[in-house]
């Protein structure tokens, strides 16, 4: 169980769903979200593979953040880039990540996305997956679950969040230009967030 492998799994999951994410973005955006994210992780993964095998989680996440910022572009680049940088900041010096740290990282990422993008929950963005995920994670901690179990709950909440994005109209991001016409379509960014959380969860569960 290494941070490098975890990132690899996450990146490959995103790349695998390139066409799916692009199709979602064609419906309510400009049809590039999958292309953007895949370009980002294709650029990031070799850099991660080249890192030292010291399992420095913060260093690896920072490399992901910097890499995404300089390769993704669009809205997702600065948002996910900032999210990874902030998550890195929240785990500086740690090699093993417990549930509390993981929750702090997730919240730092969400705060980073909100600092950059000025969006709230309910605006049909990636936050509609990530904030419910964080809430579920918190509930899991309260219920005494471990980090991986909490993440499992978070994934389920994120999936529900994606479903919820179908019901609302967008007020941030490109889909907001569609107004009511965006209703009925799930948000590409909420979907990619969920794909990443899911890939991480699957990796951690099987490694455990």
């Amino acid at each position: 169980m290494t941070v490098k492998d975890a990132i690899k799994e996450v990146g490959q999951a995103v790349i695998k769903d390139k066409v799916f994410l692009t199709d979602l973005d064609q419906a309510i955006g400009d049809g590039d979200h999958g292309i953007n994210m895949a370009r980002g992780f294709e650029s990031v993964l070799p850099k991660i593979a080249a890192l030292a095998d010291d399992n420095d989680v913060a260093a690896a996440l920072k490399a992901v953040g910097m890499g995404l910022i300089s390769s993704v572009g669009g809205a997702a680049g600065p948002l996910y880039g900032t999210a990874f940088l902030r998550a890195a900041g929240a785990c500086k010096g740690k090699t093993a990540i417990d549930a509390a740290t993981a929750k702090a990282m997730l919240d730092a990422a969400i705060k980073g996305i909100q600092d950059r993008g000025k969006a709230q929950q309910g605006e049909k963005t990636m936050l509609d997956a990530l904030i419910p995920a964080s809430d579920a994670f918190a509930d899991g901690i309260k219920a005494g679950k471990n980090a991986v179990e909490c993440l499992g709950d978070a994934v389920q909440a994120a999936e529900k969040g994606v479903e919820y994005t179908k019901k609302i109209s967008a007020t941030k991001g490109r889909a907001s230009y569609l107004g009511e016409r965006s209703i009925g379509h799930q948000d590409p960014g909420a979907t990619s967030s969920t794909i990443m959380l899911t890939a991480l969860y699957k990796y951690l569960k099987q490694e455990r």
Binding site: T22, Q26, I28, G29, D30, G31, D32, I35, N36, R39, I69, S70, S71, V72, G73, G74, A75, A76, G77, P78, L79, R116, G117, T171, K172, G173, R174, S176, Y177, L178, G179, R181
Partner: protein
């Protein structure tokens, strides 16, 4: 997908090299970056940097040259460039008089340009930014991200560029740009979608008898679709929406762009312009200059937008000032 390309993943790279190879008297490329700068040595003036996703050609690199931009940063098709690219452009063109970033109002563009501005500011470079948002198809409210920047952006390049050329200070160049932004509005429609090369299929489908109203410039659907109408009705519809902004009054002098989105024959743009001119004249507006052509495109989308800019004496003089760029030359 029928396109004259080699590899969907290389279109921006080859286009940029094609631009500099074709127009070396105007343009050169910043080595290792998707940044086009003027071929001529930078002059001692405020520098203008614009850019955004590719696919809007001649925007943005086509407007690099005397009287307009100093650098254009090209992202992937319809995707904002990344901060490091923009940061390099800023460093390259800065002469110590400061740099103005001209950004179209899209979440991605604003965020990436802002991050670049932070990076440049950390180096001690004076950077200001303006955000264009001329598209009246989109509601402007505090709850949304506001209107989009579309073809009106070209007039910001033109006028802020002319201002910078006079030797004006950064604050004054920014003020001129903001005055344009406050007074320019656009509205577009499309007859057919476009295909992002890497996506390989059209961004939407539109029945043979329908058109999209309130289209953007990224292949995104418009605000609504309806049965296709005559050129005169389309002109009326687009202009009405612009005039409803209530910033244009009888007697005002205006500049007009009748913009093609990429696949619209000039014949159709002139037929549209015919009616637009008539409506504006009827309204008592005085057309100082009309640009008709492909100024801000959306790949091979068929359709058009109409842009209206209200002029005062300063804006008029700057609008009519000379420019010498690949896509806009005027004496």
């Amino acid at each position: 997908m029928k396109k004259i390309i080699n590899n969907p993943d290389n279109v921006v790279e080859e286009m940029l090299n094609g631009m500099t190879a074709s127009q070396p008297q105007y343009l050169k490329r910043l080595k290792g970056f998707d940044v086009i700068v003027r071929a001529n040595k930078k002059t001692d003036k405020v520098a203008l940097v614009s850019g955004g996703g590719s696919g809007h050609e001649p925007a943005h690199a086509g407007y690099v040259g005397r009287g307009m931009l100093d650098a254009a940063v090209a992202g992937p098709v319809f995707t904002s460039p990344t901060p490091d690219q923009i940061y390099e452009a800023v460093k390259e063109v800065n002469t110590g008089k400061g740099v103005l970033l001209i950004i179209k109002n899209y979440s991605g563009d604003v965020m990436n340009f802002e991050m670049a501005a932070e990076m440049a500011a950390a180096d001690g470079i004076e950077v200001e930014k303006v955000v264009t948002n001329d598209d009246v198809a989109v509601e402007n409210s505090t709850w949304t991200i506001g209107r989009r920047g579309i073809a009106g952006t070209v007039l910001v390049h033109k006028i802020a560029g002319a201002k910078a050329e006079t030797g004006a200070a950064l604050a004054d160049v920014k003020k001129a740009a903001e005055k344009v932004i406050a007074n320019v509005r656009s509205m577009g429609m499309a007859l057919s979608p476009c295909t992002v090369p890497a996506a390989g299929k059209p961004s939407f489908t539109l029945p043979d008898n329908q058109m999209e109203i309130g289209i953007g410039i990224h292949g995104e659907p418009g605000t609504h679709r309806e049965a296709i109408r005559s050129a005169d009705e389309i002109a009326q519809q687009l202009v009405d929406k612009i005039l409803a902004e209530n910033i244009y009054n009888s007697g005002d002098e205006v500049a007009v762009i009748i913009n093609g989105l990429g696949a619209t024959p000039l014949m159709e743009l002139y037929i549209l312009s015919h009616k637009v001119q008539a409506i504006l004249k009827e309204k008592g507006l005085k057309m100082v200059k009309t640009y008709v052509g492909n100024y801000m495109t959306s790949l091979e989308m068929a359709g058009c937008s109409v842009t209206l800019l209200k002029l005062d004496d300063e804006l008029k003089e700057l609008l009519l000032a000379p420019a010498d760029t690949p896509a806009l030359v005027q004496f």
